[in-house]
């Protein structure tokens, strides 16, 4: 089927194209000299400079120097004709070529509103060209901004990064400096960067008619609850505003934290004897943590047992005390050791804390020592009783 279609198209081309080549569209051959502008009627503001783009077109005429002048210039206006960035007094377009010129109008601040006709002349020895322009003063140009985003709704956990890319267009006829801001729930931190840059910005210049891609990253507070949130991203320039809402769909995750009671991350344990160390497992996330397994990394030869061994459920914002029975080896030397206690939920998150366990040695030998002294004293007393003389 497709092959048949291709065949048909190629047959058609063969029959049609030679016909086109043989009979080009009739173009009227005109000769002459013209001063052209795309917009003969423009708007200017008092106290500002307006530039009008001109083109001096030579069609089929011999080149000659054409003196440029501006007539009907209102009182106080400063008018220059620029070519190639410099003030020029004459132009000379080649045959069938054009010269680009700029008419710069500097209007005094007290120019009255109204429409002013200005005539630009190009005078040569044989040919003349004239262009009548209408400059309207007073009609203010309204700035106009628009912004849109391709992905206005994102989904993620409180730890993921919510990044939205916006295209901001300056639809007005002049350059604007656009400021950015975002309104969101309390604690939401918007950061603006260029789409492919890392510099933080809060305003950016956009030329007339141009667009810029802006990235906004929304930072979330740690304890944000699961749910849908809307952040309004705003672009403001002069007195216009463009606004687009973006949606953050936050899925809850458990965030575990392990700490000691009263923040104390230390405990003491006697060598060879199990001693309790209280650890507190808290869920600071936004979803229930399930099946939290408790483990510990101990100095070698040590054992640790948890009571309870497993936490079934820990809702967000709640904490649970766990007793870790830490038992150093009987041979452990007195000193401070690191014991790492860890809590890991079945779905992802885990947390750990380093506890400092001071190992104390048994006081048994101290008592034995006292016993030894007591025995020695008993021997002495016995000797006194046995060998005492009158």
């Amino acid at each position: 089927m497709r092959r048949a279609l291709v065949l048909l198209v190629s047959l058609l081309s063969i029959t049609i194209f030679p016909a086109l080549a043989a009979d080009p569209p009739a173009q009227p051959r005109v000769t002459g000299l013209w001063l052209i502008t795309e917009y003969p009627s423009t708007v200017a503001k008092p106290g500002e400079t307006t530039t009008v783009k001109l083109k001096l077109q030579n069609a089929g005429l011999a080149p000659e120097a054409l003196a440029l002048s501006v007539a009907n210039v209102p009182q106080g206006w400063k008018v220059d004709i620029l070519g190639g960035g410099q003030v020029v007094g004459a132009a000379m377009p080649a045959i069938n070529e054009s010269v680009t010129l700029n008419l710069r109008l500097e209007l005094p601040a007290n120019t009255a509103p109204g429409t002013y006709p200005v005539t630009v002349n190009a005078k040569g020895a044989t040919n003349n060209a004239e262009l009548k322009l209408a400059i309207t003063v007073g009609g203010d140009v309204a700035a106009k901004l628009s912004m849109k985003t391709r992905l206005p709704a994102l989904r993620g956990t409180p730890k993921s990064s919510f990044e939205y890319t916006f295209t901001v267009s300056n639809d007005s006829g002049k350059d604007l400096v656009v400021r950015f801001a975002a309104d969101g729930p309390r604690g939401f931190q918007p950061t603006f960067t260029e789409a492919f840059g890392s510099n933080e910005i809060n305003q950016i210049p956009i030329e007339a008619g141009q667009t810029k891609d802006i990235k906004v990253r929304v930072g979330l507070p740690r304890d944000v609850a699961a749910g849908d949130y809307t952040v309004k991203v705003r672009a403001t320039a002069e007195n216009v505003t463009a606004e687009t809402p973006v949606t953050l769909q936050i899925v809850g995750t458990p965030t575990l934290r392990v700490s000691g009671r009263d923040g104390r991350l230390s405990g003491a344990a006697e060598a060879g004897t199990a001693s309790p160390v209280i650890m507190i497992v808290s869920n600071e996330g936004s979803a229930v943590a399930e099946d939290i397994e408790l483990t510990g990394t101990m100095p070698s030869g040590w054992t640790v047992e948890f009571e309870p061994k497993l936490i079934d459920k820990l809702p967000p914002g709640e904490k649970k005390e766990v007793t870790a029975q830490i038992k150093p080896t009987a041979k452990a030397l007195a000193g401070d050791y690191i014991a790492t206690l860890r809590a890991a939920a079945k779905a992802g998150d885990s947390a750990s804390a380093d506890f400092r366990v001071a190992v104390t040695t048994s006081t048994l030998w101290g008592i034995v020592g006292i016993g030894v002294i007591a025995v020695a004293l008993l021997v002495l007393v016995g000797a006194v009783a046995r060998f005492g003389r009158r």
């Binding site: 030397l333 020592g369 002495l380």
Partner: protein, 331 residues
């Protein structure tokens, strides 16, 4: 026939008289001068070095007792290990035979005091004299440290210093008991002094050499079969090391060294512990280095050494007592 009253009646009188005699004697002057000069010189050298080298130390005052400069590798506590026996022997070698030689023994015993009181009074007086000297020296070191270092000692440092004083006194008690035993056994003061010094030399210098030899000798008897076969486990080696250390500990000098190292080095493992960890690295696993032991733990660590010295002094004193009681005292 049962005797009447306490055997220790008159101990106070003997103690007071002996103590006064000791403090006033020319021998005491010499001992004092020796102790003070040597102590001050060593501590002064240590302090001068410490000030230059140590910038921050939690136990700077304890370093005064244990720091040995490279130019002069003797620290204060190590020096006391040798000085205390000398002083104790000096105080005790003629305690009993001196009385016999001056023919004053029968005169003393004709007073209403028992021999028990005489012996214990003399022992306690010697110990008190030794303690007086040690306290003076200790205050000298602490005061000098205050002036030179310009920081006050912490409460724990003072407590550890005091513990050292007590341990050093117990160590002196052992040597005093040995010296008095010699003075009871030998009638000649010179023989007594020589014998006591001989014992001191033996235990201070010869025993550390002899003990390993003894250990090597008994090794085939005590070692498990697999050690002799050349496949010793860390536990075996640790156990055998304990035996070797046990033999070493027959010397009071070794015991005293272990004790003051334990008291003065709260922030580092003692040599023996370091050796243990080297043998069995599992013991040093996840240890927080440089974390100081609490004072109580340090005391617990040196408690066996301390009780050994106290009990040893009592036992040696008892031997002397028995021997003295069996002697004949003639007018």
């Amino acid at each position: 026939m049962r005797r009447e009253g306490s055997p220790f009646t008159g101990t106070g009188a003997v103690f007071a008289k002996e103590y006064a005699d000791h403090l006033g004697s020319a021998r005491m002057r010499v001992i004092e001068a020796l102790v003070v000069i040597v102590g001050v010189v060593v501590v002064w050298v240590a302090m001068r070095d410490l000030k230059d080298k140590v910038t921050q130390d939690q136990f700077i005052f304890l370093r005064l007792f244990t720091y040995a400069p490279e130019s002069n590798p003797v620290n204060f506590a190590g020096l006391l290990t040798f000085l205390i026996p000398l002083v104790a022997i000096g105080l005790g070698f003629d305690a009993i035979n001196g009385e016999f030689n001056r023919r004053t023994m029968s005169r003393v015993l004709s007073q209403p005091i028992y021999r028990d009181a005489l012996l214990i009074g003399k022992f306690l007086a010697g110990l008190a004299t030794l303690a007086t000297g040690l306290i003076a020296l200790w205050l000298l070191v602490m005061g000098g440290g205050l002036i030179v270092l310009g920081v006050p000692p912490s409460g724990e440092e003072v407590a550890r210093g005091l513990a050292f004083l007590v341990i050093a006194t117990a160590y002196g008690g052992v040597w005093l008991a040995i010296a008095m035993l010699c003075s009871i056994i030998f009638r000649s003061a010179a023989t007594s002094a020589l014998t006591a010094l001989g014992i001191w030399l033996f235990f201070s210098f010869l025993w550390p050499v002899i003990a390993p030899a003894i250990f090597d000798g008994i090794l085939p008897l005590i070692a498990p079969q697999r050690v002799l076969a050349g496949s010793a486990t860390a536990d075996d080696v640790a156990g055998l090391l304990d035996v070797q250390q046990l033999i070493m500990r027959f010397s009071p000098t070794v015991v005293f060294q272990e004790a003051w190292l334990g008291v003065f080095s709260p922030d580092q493992f003692t040599e023996q512990q370091i050796m243990r960890i080297r043998l069995d690295p599992r013991l040093g696993h996840r240890v927080i280095p440089g974390s100081p032991l609490s004072f109580g733990q340090s005391l617990l660590m040196v408690w066996p050494q301390f009780t050994f010295m106290v009990a040893g002094a009592i036992v040696i004193f008892t031997l002397g007592y028995v021997s003295f009681q069996r002697q004949e005292v003639r007018a």
